[in-house]
Structure formats: structure tokens, C-alpha cells
Amino acid sequence: MIVELGHFALVLAFLICLVQMILPAWGAQIGEARLMRVGEPAALLQLGLLIVAFGALTHAYIVSDFSVSNVWANSHSTKPLIYRISGVWGNHEGSMLLWVLILALFGAAVAAFGSNLPTTLRANVLSVQASIALAFLLFILLTSNPFTRLDPVPLDGRGLNPILQDPALAFHPPFLYAGYVGFSMAYSFAIAGLIEGRTDAAWARWVRPWTLAAWMCLTVGIAMGSWWAYYELGWGGWWFWDPVENASFMPWLAGTALLHSAVVMEKREALKVWTILLAILTFSLSLMGAFLVRSGVLSSVHAFAVDPQRGVFILGIMSVFIGGALTLYAWRAPSLRQGGLFAPISREGGLVLNNVLLTTATGTVLVGTLYPLALEAINGAKISVGPPYFNATFVPLMVPLLLALPFGPLLAWKRGDVHAALQRLMIAGLLAIGAAVVVFAFVERGPWLAPFAIALGVWVVAGAISELLFRARAGNAQGAEVLRRLGNLPRSVYGTAIAHAGVGVMVIGIAATSAWQSEKILTMRPGQTAQIAGYELTFKGVAPNDGPNYREIIGLMTVSRGGSLVTELAPSKRQYNAPPQATSEAGIYVALAGDLYAVLGDDAGDGAWAVRLYFNPLVRLIWIGAVIMFIGGAFSLSDRRLRVGAPSRRRPRRPVPTPAPAE
């Protein structure tokens, strides 16, 4: 009964979307306020109905109602409660339901908090948002209905793919989707702006916090996925340049660019045409991500068995929304009024450089991801584009970006002074050079580029701190006064500095673990000891163990350093009951200098086991960096200027709030 209610709610939501798509936009066109006002209640109702639908499916999972085909295929009665819940979105149908739920959530947010938006803009935004939801609801109802019943009712389910039964992965999809779908907000505003033929600072003020929120979720979502791949897939790697990873990384790169260009649009009313295009492209890349992951056209470690028919449907959705948006853009964008002027060396100029490099980098990732598909379509050759390609194209574009990054916030709007900025970054530069020298002197092996990569990370972190100190005018004050001034800085300034420092921290982690990872593959007999990165690891043998829905063989290992015991590791090989599938659980010891990572391989006979050992120096900094970026975003989001929401319709005439350096 509850399941039918969920299905019914889904159909109703579809009808509501139809109304919400047509009436407000029509009202905006003919200037009829009553039609425009339909948007808000419709958006809230749509959210309510989708909560009912999602709740119904979740309920079916919690009570293990195997009469529902989706529950039967992806759940099992012995599965722990948390994975029964995360199983809701651990499969195609449920994850699409989560997708439309989040979409509705963002739409409802416009309805609930958008009362100070211009009425026609709000009506158009709600219409566009509804049209996206409409397409995906149709997709769910026609090809991926999660509420299909089974008759006769099976006794038990087939279970969730065991590698998805993991705490980090339980929350990876919701964050990722919140990010993907959050960019729909920027898209809807871009389309509404194009329909109205005008965009202004108020537009950017609305788009920026939503883009920021989506970007934060995507950052955390990607980081969680990377962390999960690191400890669950047992390869000791944290990023594989896999097509599915790229599918989430491209919207992130474009979204990062959008975040920065929206600043220019908000503060200076410049780059309007570009920002609109970027908003369209960012969400288009999100849609493409959904297509690549859901259609199974790509060979990927993350791809699951999927139905190719669905891919065609999503391809259709994608063509309509991307093609439609770009056509509208080509038609209307020339009529947008151009904004403020600026010199090439200025804050705007820096942000333009950021945008050029980030979008170009997105382009290289896109080419690497789609090239195999294109080539196969053209001449049938099957190829794979792997890490060497991305290291050769993406990384060289990031180097100038990171070099220029600390300069950006130190340049004034309109016309900046590189010399002054360089003076303020003197200490950061010296620290970076010092770091390179120290690394060069004390670490003998590894590629010669590694010290420079570390220096780059230090440069970005120190640059971010320098910016804060400069804004607090720390040069001409003493201890307490500096602290007082630091306390008075707006939160968005902190947000920028923290997020940028997070980038630097991540760069240090990436550089260290890429350059100095040690790996050993060996067969060990009980009692044997292996040396890795200064640790002595002794294999004690294996022991069987029974978990709630799996049996496992645990490899017992002790780790010591200089004769004294450090820790014990217990990597295991698990065999799950439902579905019957094997997984590896890595044994990881986290030290300050890096992770000691052990994986139990196959039984080599005679009590010996294959063992794979890694030492990953500073690898944690990669995810810590992502968390710092998230915190930076949260600081910016909590800034009063953004929290106030959309300002009055007249353009704000306030001076730029951050103290602009004297020219």
C-alpha cells in the first residue's frame, strides 16, 4: 500500500511539474501575476510529493519488502540497517529518485526564500527547474520505476553489491548528487536571465551562494569517493582518472570556474555573457556525468551493469537541455549589456586567468574521457586513455594556475599592481623556495620535479595566509591589534583564504604520495618479516572470522619500528553471502608521515599468502585539503552579505566591502 502511495506520489509530482513548467513562464511572458504565482506552491508541493515517494521507497527497504523488485534486487534481510537505507540510492532506480528529490529541494528553496527576487525572474527560474524535473521524472516513470512489484514475492533479496556496503560510500552519492543537481540552479537562472534578456549583480548574488553550496557538496562527494576507492579497492591509489571519476570532476572544475566568474559579475558586472555560458556548461557537464555513468558506454572500474536503453533516454534529455540552452544563448546573449571595464592586470584579470585555465583543463579532461568513444564510433578502434594522458595535459595547466593563485586576491579591482602584490608575497615565496631546498636536500629518491610540486603547495598555503595578514594590515600593528583586525575581517575573506589554503594542502598531499609512494608485492609465510619505509611488518598467519553477512579470512600482521611494536594490521578477504562476491579490506595504519597500507592477496599454498604493501606518504593531506576547501566554502556561505539573499532590485551602490589596496 505504501509502495503504491509512493508510485502515485511520483506520478502526481510529474503532473505538478507539468503545471509548474508551463504556467509561471506563460505568466511571465504575458505579464499575468496570478499565473506566475502558481510557481511557488507548485514547487513546494512537488517537493512534498517527492519526499513521500522517496520515503515510501526507503520504508520498503527498511522493512525489507521484497515484493518490490528494486528492493529484492538490491537489498537483503541480513544487511545492517544503515546499508538497507543507503541501498535506496545504491542502485540505478533509487539514485534517480534521489536525483529528482534533490532537484525539487533546490526548486523549493527558490520558492521559499526567493520572495525578494524579481517576480518574472522567479517565475522563469521555477519553470526551467520544473522542466528539468519533468524530464527526469518521465525517465524514472518510463524506464526506471523503483516501485515495480514482483509476484510471487521472493523469500529474500539479492543483496547490495558488497563494495557499496561501506560508510563513506553510503553518503557519497547524496553529496555528489547535491553537487550535480545544485548546478541546475545556476542553469535555471542562466536560462531565465536569457529569456528576460537581462542579468545584473542581483542575478549573480543569487546564483553565487547556490553554486557555492553545490560546489561544496560536490567537493565533499568527490573526496569521499576518492577516499573510499583508496581503502576499499585495495590498489593504494586515490584517483585513477577513470571515466566515471572524470564525469564528476568535470562539473567540479567548471563549477569552480563559475564560482569565480560569478564574483566578477556580482562585484563588477563584467563577464556577464561568459558567466551565463559557464552556468550552462557546468550543468551540462553534470548531465553528461549522469549519462556516462548511467548508460554504461564507458569501460570503468566504477561502471556497473546497466541497461543501454536507458542511456538513449538520458542522451535525449541531455541533447534537449544542452542544445536548447546553447541555442537560446546564441540567440539572446548578444543582447546582454556589457559591464565594467578592467585592465588585464587586475582582480578581474586574475579571475579571468583562473577561468581560462580551469575551463581549458576541463576541456582536456573532456577530450580524454570522450576520445575513446569518438574513435570507436569513427573507425571501430578500441582504446583506453589512462593516467599518462591526464598527467601530460591536465597537470601542466594546473601549474600556472597554482603559481598565479596567491596573486589574485591581492590585486585590486579594475587595475592591479603586480609589484605590490609580489612584495606582499615575498615571505610566501621564500617559504616555498625553502621548502623545495629542504625536500631536495633530505629526500634522495623520487622524481626531480617533486620538490617543486611541494614548493607549489607551500606557496599557495603561505600565499593564503599572507593575504589574510595583508588585509589585517599586520605589517604596521602589534599582536593584540593584529588579532582584533583579523577578527574584523569579513567571513568571505576568510572563506577565500581557507579554501585556497585547502588547495595548497591538497597539492602537497598529491605531490608527496605520487612521488614517494613505496610498493611491495610479496608472498609471506607466517613469521616472515618485510621492510617498508622504515617499518618492519611481520606476517603472523591468517584466521577465519564471521561477520553479519559475510565470512572473511583475516591476515594478522604486526608492525614495528626500530624494534618496538607500533600497531597490528588485519587486512582481510571477505566473501559476502548476498550477492556472493569477494572483496578485500585493506589494513591501514595512519601515521603522521603517511599511511602504511596492507592488502591480503591470494593463498599461495603451504601457508604462504600473497601480500601487497604500500607506504603512502602524506596521502591524508589530499582529503584533509578537500575538507579545508569545504570549510572555506562554508565560511563564505555564512558571510552576512550572502546570507541576506538577493538584494533589492536596484543595483547596490555600496563600496566594495573588502578594503581595496591603494593604487
Binding site: N161, I163, G234, G296, V297, L298, S299, V301, H302, A303, F304, A305, P308, L341, F342, A343, P344, G349, V352, L353, V356, L357, T360, A361, G363, T364, V367, G368, Y371, P372, A381, K382, I383, S384, V385, G386, P388, Y389, A392, T393, P396, L397, I521, L522, T523, K573, P579, P580, Q581, A582, T583, S584, V599, G601, D602, A604, G605, A610, V611, R612
Partner: protein, 160 residues
């Protein structure tokens, strides 16, 4: 500076970055892509030794032999032809006889493939698209069906 000149500088700069990126992409695409082949392709297309390729197909039943240490030897088959693969390392969890697999490495003398990467996928019903396509072209497998037995009778009973 006039508006036109400023815009010129911006567009020129962007084009420079783009040109560099295009150069990098073309260079990388020439050097670092890896072609996928099936065992039959190796003979048909005459892949030279030492070229880095991906070799995919099904792990032939009864072919997995463990050697010294972490050395493993197995055969990849597309049911028409078979190639011996040598690999040193820990095989993925889903590596099993009769399963689809993709390996990456180089062909050595004597038609032995020296793999440094072995990919078996997350999902036990999942078939790497290249393998699926290659098998489909040979008429050995339909979408949605379980993987065909690598050599006919034994695996049929092994599959649940």
C-alpha cells in the same frame, strides 16, 4: 587602453592557453593511448612485440597457475584463440576463471603477454564493454545473459 585593446589582450591570452592545451592534448593522444585487442586480434592485426596494449577476454577455465611468489599465469580467451598472460601482483577480488577481464601490458616473444595491470570489475554480472562487444561481434554472447562459459561444460554448473 581602449576597450577594444583590452578585449584583444584577453582574447589573445585565452587563445594562447588554448593553443598550448591543444598541443598538449595532441601530443598526449599520440603517445599515451592504449589500444584494446582480443586474442584473435593479436594474430589478425599482427600486433608487434613491445607495444603497450590492452588485452581482454575471458579467463580460460583451468588456466590459472600460481608460480613463485606473487607470479601468476593464466590464459585469456575469446573462445577462438587463447593467449597466455603472466602477471606479478595481487589479482583483483573478482578475478575468476570464466569471468571477463581486461589486462594491460606488452606482448613478449613466444606469444606471451606480460601484464602489469589486471582489471576485473566491481559487479559480478558486469562485462567490460570492450569484452562484451568483442564477444557479441563473434556471436558468443547477448546482452543481459550470463557470461558464456570460457570452455563449454564445466563452468555451466559453477554459475549459480
Amino acid at each position: 587602453m581602449t576597450r577594444r585593446r583590452r578585449r584583444g589582450i584577453l582574447i589573445g591570452g585565452a587563445l594562447c592557453v588554448l593553443a598550448v592545451a591543444v598541443g598538449l592534448v595532441l601530443m598526449a593522444l599520440r603517445d599515451s593511448i592504449v589500444f584494446f585487442h582480443t586474442p584473435s586480434d593479436l594474430t589478425a592485426k599482427g600486433i608487434p612485440e613491445g607495444q603497450r596494449i590492452r588485452l581482454g577476454g575471458l579467463v580460460a577455465t583451468g588456466s590459472v597457475k600460481r608460480g613463485q611468489g606473487a607470479d601468476v599465469e593464466f590464459a585469456i580467451t575469446d573462445t577462438a584463440e587463447q593467449v597466455t598472460v603472466r602477471y606479478r601482483g595481487v589479482l583483483p577480488d573478482l578475478f575468476r576463471e570464466g569471468q571477463g577481464v581486461v589486462t594491460e601490458g606488452k606482448l613478449e616473444a613466444g606469444r606471451v603477454f606480460r601484464a602489469d595491470t589486471v582489471l576485473a570489475k566491481h559487479d559480478e554480472n558486469y562485462m567490460p564493454p570492450e569484452v562484451a562487444k568483442a564477444l557479441k561481434e563473434k556471436g558468443l554472447w547477448q546482452h543481459g545473459a550470463p557470461p558464456p562459459a570460457a570452455t563449454a561444460p564445466q563452468t555451466a554448473s559453477e554459475k549459480k
